[in-house]
């Protein structure tokens, strides 16, 4: 274990900022994304979607569509296996509805045709008979006993009897006596909050090209965060063996969690199976919004007690999340994360999930945490204001640290929260003067980070270069980080390493690119694969020198004789050993396969200055600084990139992004025109401060960095807006009409 764990060392490559290996392809337009490949004889597929939020599918008549010249195949729900396992069954039913359409945009049939125009025409000729049912899209409404039932009988055993039929999930976390804690407080504040569902908003719509032959062999090209997971799901839904389905991950145009599952891939495969031809299926943007996975929408109550000198005596939160039309456990993570930044003697969080007629939730960057932490950090800010306390001092005072029993149970090891808070306090931004009308807000953020199944092969080429084969799609520059770690461990130059992402037939299973796991887990496996190769290279050198393997050590990219009896030999470099590898036993490779644990948790603190136009409710973000513990920043440019990108997604969530449903249960804003992600002119520079508190669970101290940055902006912005207008905002997004209404209501 000692060898796996973090050790202090001097890095030569890690921490530098070389160009990414896939960079030139991406700036020249050569990189191939999901929709960029075609196959000879390919058909185009389109999906027919329910216009109703909730409806019984009485009948589907495809005969007129099938008769249209150029239509080669049509599938409906009946063409997919319904797995016994609920996890897969829910995906299957989401991919193609069976007896009921559960949300506006739910797929009900799909067509493969010789051209996009014919496919579009065919969709119009499919006659679906619906019996429209009452619908519910609001989480609080859905929890009521008299709410329309989205799916009956889906509650897990923890849900107490007597809850509404849409309640599927209940969880509770915490320790200590909260009633006693509140009694010790000088001030207790209790508030309710709501957050809208938001979408990951990746710029590349889902796209795939499927090809399945009569003997059951299939190839699938798709944009995904995890080709192995796509294989598992598609093989299950189509009833084929994993070995027969080879999934290749295209370059991926953003995911943020939204591409950790499947929506269209099984449909394309089923159509290819039916037609005997390759089938390309690309979502429109409207389909992406309507029928892929946004976040949960939430309704949250938070109660916190504080003493006059800023000590939190107890915290309590009730979280009501809806993950759409299917059971969803995201509230677990929200309930665990809500108070993670605090060292509390008494804390209790309870979480509920309720079904609504909305699309099936998919992960979005730290799923469940931003909403819960927004609510908690808002109440902490209100307490600081009321007690006239400095909000950073209060957070420092109450910060979780090594040895703190976390709000979700385990005791924290080395964590970087305190250092991050102190860095924020020492930063010029925190004390910069504000002009009249401007306000400053801040928030802590937290995410668990994960490891997971990881498999890496590292091949030493005879010319002294190295190929690293990994299995996680590169969304934000991870190939560069992996190459850096391989080069570091091997002691060779960065540009001697080429890292590629394998298809599912070329490497063992890798978990999805999620949970901020890639730099941490794939990095760890790469370092160990390099050590495996180093061991073999030391063995070859020992043979050449005629000494014991134990008497060879690896240093600065070369084998050296070591120890008193090793003898005197000039070191042999990797290139020298590789050059004679055929003569010394054959090709040299290193491997590592592991289910990685020990991802260190990550904390961040965000500071924002903004001003609100009190006549229109418009918010202008003026200055923004992100402080985050990265454990070890392998490629600092891409660590900063994660911090900046996550912050801006959070800013969008706080100010403008939301799923807007009409009374008819239909999504009103399924496009980038009215689903308003931040544009360049909305933003100031996003400054970053990277802290490096090594993760004890990684050889180089790496922590995941990708998810934490989306957590703090919601409350940081809300706290600043609330300070600017002098009224506590309690709903996201803080769109101008909502802010103006709040200002007016407070004045009235």
């Amino acid at each position: 274990m000692a060898f796996d764990s973090h050790q202090k060392r001097e890095f030569k490559q890690v921490g530098t900022r070389p160009p990414r290996p896939d960079g030139i392809d991406k700036v020249t337009g050569r990189a191939l994304y999901g929709a960029d490949v075609s196959a000879p004889g390919m058909l185009t597929a389109r999906i027919l979607r329910s216009p109703h939020p909730h409806a019984k599918i009485v009948a589907i008549d495809t005969s007129e569509a099938a008769a249209l010249p150029g239509v080669k195949g049509i599938v409906t729900g009946a063409d997919f296996a319904l797995p016994d396992d609920e996890f897969f069954a829910d995906i299957a039913v989401n991919v193609m509805a069976r007896d009921k359409a559960l949300y506006d945009g739910h797929a009900v049939a799909a067509v493969a045709a010789i051209s996009p125009a014919v496919a579009a025409e065919a969709l119009k000729r499919i006659k679906v008979t619906y019996e429209v049912l009452p619908h519910v899209t609001d989480v609080d409404a859905a929890m009521r006993a008299d709410a329309p039932v989205v799916q009956p009988g889906r509650a897990v055993e923890t849900v107490p009897a007597g809850m509404g039929a849409n309640v599927t999930h209940f969880c509770e976390f915490g320790h200590g006596d909260v009633a006693d804690g509140f009694a010790k407080a000088d001030l207790v504040v209790e508030r309710s909050f709501r957050t809208a569902a938001t979408h990951q908003g990746y710029i590349e719509p889902h796209a795939c090209l499927a090809s399945m032959t009569a003997d059951g062999k299939a190839d699938l090209w798709c944009c995904t965060q995890g080709q192995f997971n796509v294989r598992t799901i598609c093989a299950t839904l189509l009833g084929i063996e994993a070995s027969q389905l080879r999934v290749s991950a295209s370059e991926i145009g953003g995911g943020f969690g939204g591409k950790t599952t499947v929506f269209i891939e099984p449909v394309a495969l089923a159509l290819s199976r039916k037609t005997g031809k390759p089938v390309k299926l690309v979502m429109t943007r409207d389909e992406v919004f309507k029928a892929t996975g946004p976040t949960v929408s939430t309704s949250i109550d938070v109660k916190i007690g504080m003493t006059k000198d800023g000590r939190i005596t107890a915290g309590e939160a009730v979280l009501r999340y809806s993950g759409g039309a299917y059971p969803c456990g995201t509230v677990d993570m929200g309930a665990q994360a809500a108070f993670a930044a605090y060292d509390l003697a008494a804390v209790r969080t309870t979480g509920w999930n309720a079904l609504t007629n909305r699309p099936k939730e998919a992960a979005y960057r730290a799923p469940g945490a931003p909403q819960a932490i927004y609510a908690v950090e808002s109440v902490v800010d209100e307490l600081c204001l009321a007690l006239k306390l400095d909000p950073l001092d209060v957070r420092i005072r109450n910060a979780a640290r090594k040895g703190t029993k976390s709000s979700y149970g385990p005791t924290f090891d080395d964590i970087g929260l305190l250092a991050t808070l102190e860095a924020a306090k020492a930063h010029p931004h925190y004390t910069a003067p504000l002009k009249p009308g401007q306000a400053r807000g801040l928030s802590c953020g937290f995410w668990f980070n994960f490891g997971g199944n990881t498999c890496v092969s590292l091949n030493v080429n005879t010319d002294g270069t190295v190929g690293v084969t990994e299995g996680n799609p590169d969304i934000g520059g991870s190939r560069a980080s992996i190459s850096l770690m391989a080069a570091e461990e091997l002691g060779i130059e960065y540009d001697k390493v080429r890292t590629i992402i394998a298809d599912t037939s070329s490497l063992g299973y890798n978990d999805v690119t999620d949970g901020s796991r890639v730099t941490f887990s794939v990095g760890l496996a790469t370092i160990k694969a390099a050590r495996d190769a180093i061991g073999k290279m030391c063995g070859r050198a020992a043979k050449i020198w005629g000494i014991d393997e134990d008497a060879v050590e690896w240093r600065d990219g070369a084998a050296h004789p070591a120890g008193p009896n090793a003898g005197q030999f000039p070191p042999m470099t990797l290139a020298e050993i590789a050059a004679v590898s055929f003569q010394t036993g054959g090709p040299i490779a290193g491997h590592h396969e592991v289910n990685v644990d020990g991802a260190g948790v990550s904390f961040g603190v965000h500071l924002v200055d903004l001003e609100v136009d009190s006549e229109t409710g418009a918010t202008k973000v003026l200055r923004y600084t992100v402080f985050q513990d990265a454990g070890r920043a392998v490629h600092p440019d891409y660590v900063e990139g994660q911090m900046q990108g996550g912050a801006v997604q959070g800013i969008g969530w706080a100010l403008n992004e939301e799923y807007i449903y009409g009374r008819d249960g239909r999504l009103q804003n399924a496009g980038f025109l009215d689903y308003r992600v931040p544009v360049a002119s909305d933003l100031p520079p996003i400054d970053t401060v990277i802290l490096e508190i090594p993760n004890p669970g990684h050889p180089y101290g790496v922590r995941g960095v990708g998810e934490t940055p989306i957590v703090p902006p919601l409350a940081a912005i809300s706290n600043a807006v609330s300070r600017a207008i002098g009224v506590r905002m309690q709903e996201l997004p803080m769109s101008p009409p909502r802010i103006l209404k709040t200002i007016r209501a407070a004045r009235a």
């Binding site: 897990v156 055993e157 923890t158 107490p160 209940f170 969880c171 509770e172 976390f173 915490g174 320790h175 990951q200 943020f256 969690g257 939204g258 950790t260 456990g329 677990d332 993570m333 665990q336 209790r348 309870t350 998919a362 992960a363 979005y364 960057r365 730290a366 799923p367 979700y408 149970g409 385990p410 005791t411 924290f412 090891d413 995410w447 668990f448 980070n449 994960f450 490891g451 997971g452 999620d514 949970g515 901020s516 796991r517 289910n595 644990d597 020990g598 991802a599 669970g697 998810e707």
Partner: protein
């Protein structure tokens, strides 16, 4: 015996106890013994649980060794984005 801290909603199936003791030397044994002693926990265990062992979270590792002095906290199986 290993003390296992459960999260709140699991207590319904452990006669209200937040901490239970089982005889186990590994993560897998903890899960097996829990399911055996408290059958009501079985569905959740089958859906997936993680375990924090002395502060480090393990998502699936059956053979992660657990000692009598270890801090063992059961957690829901988690996913990220």
């Amino acid at each position: 015996m290993v003390k296992v801290l459960l999260w709140g909603s699991m207590r319904t199936h452990t006669e209200g106890r937040a901490e239970v003791e089982v005889e186990a030397r590994t993560f897998k044994e903890v899960l097996d013994k829990l399911a055996e002693a408290y059958p009501g926990l079985r569905p959740q265990i089958e859906r997936g649980v993680s375990m924090a062992l002395d502060g480090r979270i393990y998502r699936e590792a059956w053979f992660a060794p657990v000692g009598p002095d270890s801090e063992v906290v059961l957690m829901p199986y988690m996913t990220g984005g």
